[in-house]
């Protein structure tokens, strides 16, 4: 899915002839339909808890009632706000992790040949206020979870989101983006501009995002995809009627 080269409008992204979403606004406003295949592995984030300055979460891997065996994944997180502290092994799983930039790669090996679900407890130290977003890079999912599309991102601290926010963490050979949009019900326009061109629609298939109904907030993560070195300035334009909010983030790839 990753690749180098120039995008039509200069965005250094290999253009794929993918199905175009109807409209980003409709995508954010529509119902998130989690249509999982009847029999498929899954990977998800759960049990997010804050205790003091430690944010913990579990990554849960399941294989539809069959033994998991082994799995590998990378989890993208805002490394400017969180410091990865470690991934613990459990009675059923030996977990090995190594952070790099804004993501941590984890290998999971089942200690129990019959285990149909494996958990990777992960810990982060809070460096600065949230919210904190997480997403898997589908291209890094390997072994049992290869081919699984998580189809969503996760967030901790959504109740504290009152204003739009977008930022990126510098990385090596990879770029990331974190974007939070509150009050989606009041949006009248939404764009993500690179050098004046709206790239949101073509970028969206490479992102993981989610819309929380009760908080009316949507959030998006570009999960550490390979990019050529450079500093890419992206501007999110969020129109709430006559009130237009702009947020700019530099996607810095070394």
């Amino acid at each position: 899915m990753s690749g180098k080269g120039s995008f039509k409008n200069g965005w250094p992204f290999e253009w794929k002839t993918l199905q175009v979403y109807l409209s980003v606004l409709a995508g954010f406003m529509g119902v998130l339909v989690w249509v999982a295949p009847s029999f498929a592995a899954s990977i998800a984030v759960g049990n997010m808890l804050m205790s003091g300055t430690t944010l913990s979460l579990d990554v849960v891997i399941q294989n539809d009632g069959r033994p998991v065996g082994s799995a590998g994944f990378s989890l993208t997180y805002p490394a400017d706000r969180l410091q990865f502290m470690g991934a613990d092994s459990t009675a059923d799983a030996m977990n090995t992790a190594m952070p790099s930039g804004a993501s941590v790669r984890v290998g999971v090996m089942s200690m129990n040949p019959m285990a149909t679900s494996l958990t990777v407890p992960m810990r982060f130290r809070v460096l600065s206020p949230g919210p904190y977003l997480f997403a898997f890079n589908p291209s890094d999912l390997i072994d049992t979870v290869q081919g699984v599309n998580p189809k969503r991102a996760w967030i901790y601290g959504i109740q504290d989101v009152t204003a739009p926010d977008m930022w990126s963490t510098p990385d090596v050979e990879r770029g990331n983006l974190f974007w939070v949009v509150p009050k989606v019900g009041q949006l009248t326009g939404l764009r993500l501009e690179y050098e004046g061109v709206d790239i949101l629609a073509p970028l969206l298939p490479y992102c993981q995002w989610y819309y929380d109904y009760f908080f009316g907030t949507a959030y998006l993560v570009l999960p550490s995809i390979q990019l050529p070195p450079g500093a890419y300035s992206l501007t999110a334009v969020m129109e709430y009627g006559s009130n237009v909010v702009r947020k700019t983030a530099i996607v810095a790839v070394h």
Partner: protein, 1134 residues
């Protein structure tokens, strides 16, 4: 999927294979209360005659104390002990049928009056005769001092001179009773065909113990009316000054007619001369009842006038109208006082009225009790000025009370003897399906309050059912559609039995606990703690005091209610009592349809409410002294009706699941096990209605081992109802697991876990289906494998099963709530059923697969079979295959492979294939077995190998499936890439003993090899599969991973001349790339680790690759190193 882990899909449902598997859990021994009730007439629900209380007579004094007489519809005519002095509340006697000729005709009693024929009995209320209306008949019973009914007599209400008219009696009154003479009775009746009616007067001769007759026919005097007379009342008063007269007040639609009755003329040759005109008038409304009060002080406009006046109160659908019967000279004069409730209670729909003057002669400070049907009970105070000209009459609202039943009639008001204007000791109310109720009025002049103090209700329509345990016994708590809360004790023995309704204590006492026990109903028709509409129930024993049962009810428009039962199981102290039982109410913004709770400390709860189109409420109860606190109110944007809710509390997390109608299943993340995010939940997931396939109506959560499932009752548009099972083990990735469609009329469900045997079931209640020809029933579904729910036993019930609860135990039980009036919001009849649920234990299913051949040529076919022992037939079969190295899985026949014996065609690649067959028996026990089959090219072939730079590799050359020749000598050349491999020698395979093999490099990259048998008995048989020789190579240490070189046989001679020759590949891989995928992945580490544990076999070349530290041993260190390299380099070879 990369090579290694590729599985076939399992069968989803047995119907696809054309066979059914049935779970072995059984249902038996149904007992239904009160249908199977004992034959003792004094027991509640005798012969399933569920009472609807229409009328009554209070304060009947007998030698045994005070009694009530109740008209209970099909429940019959009842004498009821209600003596507060020596309480033994309960039925003394009951008559449910009467002998007419040779027939025993059921009674349906709607009105009752009582009389005293023997003046020597003492007080006026020491009645000895009871008259009642039952159907078309007027019946009489003698009443003993012990409260027993006997000597029945009857007369049909009809016009002997005109048999063409059939009448339906509506009311009954005593006109007069002369000392030692007959009792004169009046019966109002409407025509069954027509808009008119008639009043029938008849005498009952006590000496003859019979109704008066004339020439063998009933001696009626009859007054025909142009309207249907709905109610009558009588009073004896001297209004005109011409002497006291028996006055009859008749009301019907828009009409009030008053007649003076000459009792002496009742019967005789004239059938009309007992009536004489008094007065009449009209009003706007349909009258249902009338109450009268006569006294000379009613009107004292003329101070010296000694005549009496009669206050008349008429209950209509438009409120209460008032009249006053006065005189004008020696004639009657009727004064219209107008609609007395229109101002304060414009929407009052009055069914019944009862007046008590509270000791005030003018009647201007009395109490008027109004029965308002589903609107409850109203207490009004009369007022006005008896001295004014004209005198005035007013009614003022005092207090009101809502009930769960239908308030039909007020049949008694007993003010306190000391403080009659501020306190009412008893207000007797016939509450229809809610039984009879005794209310009390307190502080009526300052802070008016009317409250329930007693309820007796034998009928039940269970809309929600739960099972609780008080530490000793199980109890069924039932939410009765018309009566509130009922409690039943469950006795599950070898043979379960009827579950009797629990009464308050050994004194005999209350049956039931009305939802509006503590209602405060204001004049606008709103208020607090109203009865509402019963939808759902949560019940749980207190964590500390198990005999206290906490209850939360979702009561529709009345919101959320909290009650508790105390001393449950203590026959002496158990009560239904509003003061003890801490009734609390919360008015939700929507329609409370579902409720669930989690008790976090004794008496402290997290409460979730499905509040209809207002969404979901997350509340606390008990953190502040038995009060509700709203933490969060949530609603989906757009349409959606929150129907049902389930709290899912786990070891370290918590969730709330909501069946949200056409919005599907919504899952909220409420934080850790202490509900840390109860005030700020986030959305975990939503499975929309389209994915579920319909409208999500109910949700129940079940834990199956370490997994969690949501069982959602979904209503489809055209295919009935179904259960959709959603895996919510990780709610943020919730997904539909399976569906059960075999109970299209399912309306409710309960989850029960056989934790001993790790089996899990749903118990369903279903209504009848005339199209399917099935009656209402309970059904069991085995959901141990959620992907394949298995149909289990079913059991028909008498009513319409609409609620259910189940519990696993030594003797597992199912309690089912049935209604007999399906689709009726205020239906009051039903049954509470108890079934025995028997589970079979876990059984071991042993599966032994077989293959027609262990070696298959490329594209060849074999037959696979499974031998099964253990478990119980019939069985379900499901085959799957995993290739060792590649991705091609071949082809099953049939496909999907769900038969005991299946065929399989190999792909055109060499590989090792592992076949697994999973067998499920008829109770969901699962067994499996595996067998490995090798696919090899026919002829001589070089086996594919991998290796790492600087290491060595051994390459086997095999022969397989050549049927035409036995081999005792062979020779060939083998070419290879000399830049990659250096030939170091040959060796003899261990399974080829008695052979000599040789090999020599003849040129760069070419070796010549040969072998011969040393003895005649060592030849290779035709068609056999054997390894002919091993070629040993060292691998160039500078070669790059990913390099692939061919090892090619040629120039075959001797016994293998002309045999097909197939080359193999040698692939140089990264150290640790055990599966040869080209990447280091956790799977490589896993294979290495499992090989170390002897759980997995590696070929010798794979094992060498796994030995990343080159110490000659494959162990955990190698596995860890492989994993470390994966996370460090993302799989790339470094």
């Amino acid at each position: 999927m990369k090579k290694g882990l590729l599985f076939c899909l399992f069968l989803v449902w047995a119907c696809c294979s054309g066979s059914w598997v049935w779970a072995a859990a059984t249902l038996s021994q149904l007992y239904e209360t009160p249908k199977d009730q004992v034959t003792t007439a004094t027991q509640p629900g005798y012969k399933n005659l569920q009472s609807y209380v229409y009328d009554g007579i209070p304060g009947v004094t007998t030698a045994g104390g005070a009694e009530l007489i109740l008209a209970m519809g099909e429940g019959g005519l009842v004498t009821f002990d209600y003596d507060a002095t020596t309480p033994k509340y309960g039925i003394i006697d009951r008559k449910t049928s009467i002998t007419m000729g040779t027939e025993e005709v059921p009674l349906f009693v709607t009105r009752v009056v009582a009389d005293q024929s023997n003046a020597a009995l003492g007080s006026a209320t020491e009645y000895d005769t009871v008259f009642a209306i039952s159907g078309a008949y007027l019946v009489k019973y003698s009443l003993s001092t012990a409260g027993l009914l006997s000597d029945p007599k009857y007369v049909k209400i009809y016009d002997p001179s005109d048999n063409t008219r059939q009448y339906e009696p509506t009311d009954l009154a005593i006109v007069a009773h002369a000392a030692s003479g007959p009792t004169y009775l009046a019966v109002s009746a409407r025509e069954q065909s027509g808009t008119g009616g008639a009043i029938f007067l008849i005498a009952f001769d006590h000496s003859a113990d019979g109704f008066a007759t004339n020439a063998g026919l009933p001696a009626f005097d009859i007054l025909r009316t142009s309207f249907a007379p709905n109610a009558i009342a009588t009073v004896n008063a001297n209004v005109t000054g011409s002497g006291a007269a028996d006055l009859l007040f008749i009301v019907g639609p828009d009409n009030l007619v008053i007649k003076a009755i000459n009792s002496a003329n009742i019967g005789g040759t004239s059938t009309t001369d007992a009536f004489s005109d008094a007065a009449q008038s009209t009003f706007d409304g349909t009258a249902r009842d009338v109450a009268v009060y006569a006294d000379a002080a009613v009107d004292t406009t003329t101070a010296t006038e000694a005549n009496a006046e009669v206050l008349i109160f008429i209950a209509t659908n438009n409120g209460v109208y008032g009249f006053e019967l006065d005189n004008s000279g020696t004639s009657y004069s009727l004064e219209d006082k107008g609609n007395l409730t229109q101002g304060e209670l414009p929407n009052l729909d009055a069914y019944g009225v009862y007046f008590n003057a509270a000791g005030t002669a003018s009647g201007r400070a009395g109490w008027l009790g109004v029965a308002a049907g589903t609107g409850g009970f109203y207490l009004l105070k009369s007022g006005g000025d008896a001295t004014a000209s004209p005198d005035t009459l007013i009614l003022s609202y005092v207090a009101a009370l809502d009930t769960t039943g239908t308030t039909e009639k007020v049949f008694g008001i007993v003010p306190n003897s000391t403080n009659p204007t501020t306190t009412i000791d008893h207000i007797y109310v016939a509450d229809g399906g809610g039984g009879f109720k005794d209310l009390a009025g307190a502080t009526l002049s300052t802070a008016p309050e009317v409250s329930l103090q007693y309820q007796w209700d034998e009928s039940v329509a269970a809309v929600a059912t739960k099972i609780v345990n008080n530490g000793t016994d199980d109890y069924a708590v039932v939410l009765d559609q018309a009566g509130g809360i009922k409690l039943y004790k469950i006795t599950m023995g070898t043979t379960p039995s009827l579950i009797p309704q629990e009464e308050a204590d050994t004194k005999g006492g209350k049956y039931g606990f009305d939802l509006a026990w503590n209602s405060n109903y204001n004049k606008e028709g709103t208020g607090t703690n109203l009865a509402g509409t019963p939808y759902d129930l949560y019940a749980a024993a207190d964590l500390t005091t198990l005999t206290t049962v906490h209850l939360f009810m979702a009561a529709g428009s009345a919101g959320l209610k909290k009650m508790q039962l105390t001393a449950v199981g203590d026959a002496t102290n158990f009560v239904y009592d509003k003061d003890t039982n801490a009734v609390e109410s919360y008015n939700t913004p929507g329609t409370a349809r579902g409720v669930d709770a989690s008790q976090t400390a004794a008496g402290v709860f997290k409460v979730a409410v499905a509040d209809g189109d207002a969404g979901i409420l997350l509340m606390d109860y008990g953190t502040t002294a038995n009060k509700f606190t709203l933490n969060r109110s949530l609603a989906l944007q757009g349409a959606g009706v929150a129907e049902s809710v389930a709290i899912d509390k786990r070891t370290s997390s918590s969730f709330v699941h909501v069946a949200y109608g056409d919005q599907g299943l919504l899952i909220l993340d409420t934080g850790d096990a202490s509900f840390s995010n109860w005030s700020n939940p986030s959305t975990a997931a939503q499975i929309d209605g389209a994915t579920l396939g319909g409208y999500a109506k109910k949700v129940v959560i079940g834990q199956q081992g370490s997994a969690y499932y949501a069982y959602v009752l979904v209503q489809t548009a055209t295919q009935g109802n179904k259960i959709v099972i959603v895996d919510v083990s990780t709610p943020s990735s919730a997904a539909v697991k399976g569906t059960y469609t075999a109970e299209s009329e399912v309306n409710n469900l309960a989850f029960v876990a056989d934790t001993t045997n790790s089996k899990y079931y749903l118990v369903l209640s279903s209504t009848n289906d005339t199209v399917l020809g099935q009656t209402s029933r309970v059904a069991v579904v085995n959901v141990s494998n959620p992907a394949t729910p298995l149909a289990g036993a079913t059991y028909g019930v008498t009513g319409q099963a609409i609620s259910i609860a189940a519990k696993y135990g030594t003797t597992s039980e199912v309690v089912v709530g049935e209604v007999l009036q399906i689709g009726t919001d205020n239906g009051y009849k039903g049954d509470v059923g108890l079934l025995k649920l028997t589970f079979t234990g876990a059984q071991t299913v042993t599966v032994t697969p077989s293959a027609s051949s262990s070696v298959v040529p490329l594209g060849g076919s074999i037959t696979l079979g499974a031998s099964v022992s253990g478990g119980t037939a019939p069985y379900l079969y499901s085959w799957s295959v995993v290739p060792r190295s590649g991705t091609d899985t071949g082809q099953f026949n049939p496909d999907p492979p769900t038969a005991q014996s299946v065929g399989w065609t190999a792909p055109q690649v060499s590989d090792l294939f592992t076949f697994t067959v999973q067998v499920t028996d008829n109770d969901g026990n699962v067994g499996s077995g595996s067998i490995t089959v090798r696919v090899r090219p026919t002829g001589v072939s070089v086996v594919n190998r991998i290796g790492k730079a600087g290491s060595t590799v051994t390459v086997p050359i095999e022969i397989s499936g050549v049927p035409s020749v036995a081999i005792d000598a062979w020779g060939m050349d083998v070419t290879f890439d000399p830049q990659l491999l250096v030939f170091t020698g040959v060796s003899t395979p261990s399974d080829l003993s008695g052979w000599t093999v040789t090999g020599q490099q003849v040129s760069s990259g070419r070796v010549r090899i040969a072998g011969h048998a040393e003895a005649i008995d060592k030849v290779i048989e035709p068609g056999a599969t054997k390894t002919l020789i091993y070629l040993r190579f060292s691998i160039n240490r500078n070669a790059q991973p990913g390099t692939v070189a061919s090892v090619t046989p040629s120039n075959a001679v001797d016994d293998i001349a002309g045999v097909p020759l197939t080359a193999g590949n040698f692939k140089l891989v990264c150290p640790g790339d055990v599966d040869g995928s080209g990447l280091l992945t956790p799977q490589d580490a896993l294979w290495t680790f499992y090989y170390f544990l002897n759980l997995y076999s590696l070929e010798d070349d794979e094992a060498k690759v796994a030995d990343v530290d080159n110490n000659g041993i494959v162990n955990i260190t190698d596995a860890v190193e492989i994993m470390n390299r994966y996370v460090a380099y993302g799989g790339a070879c470094q």
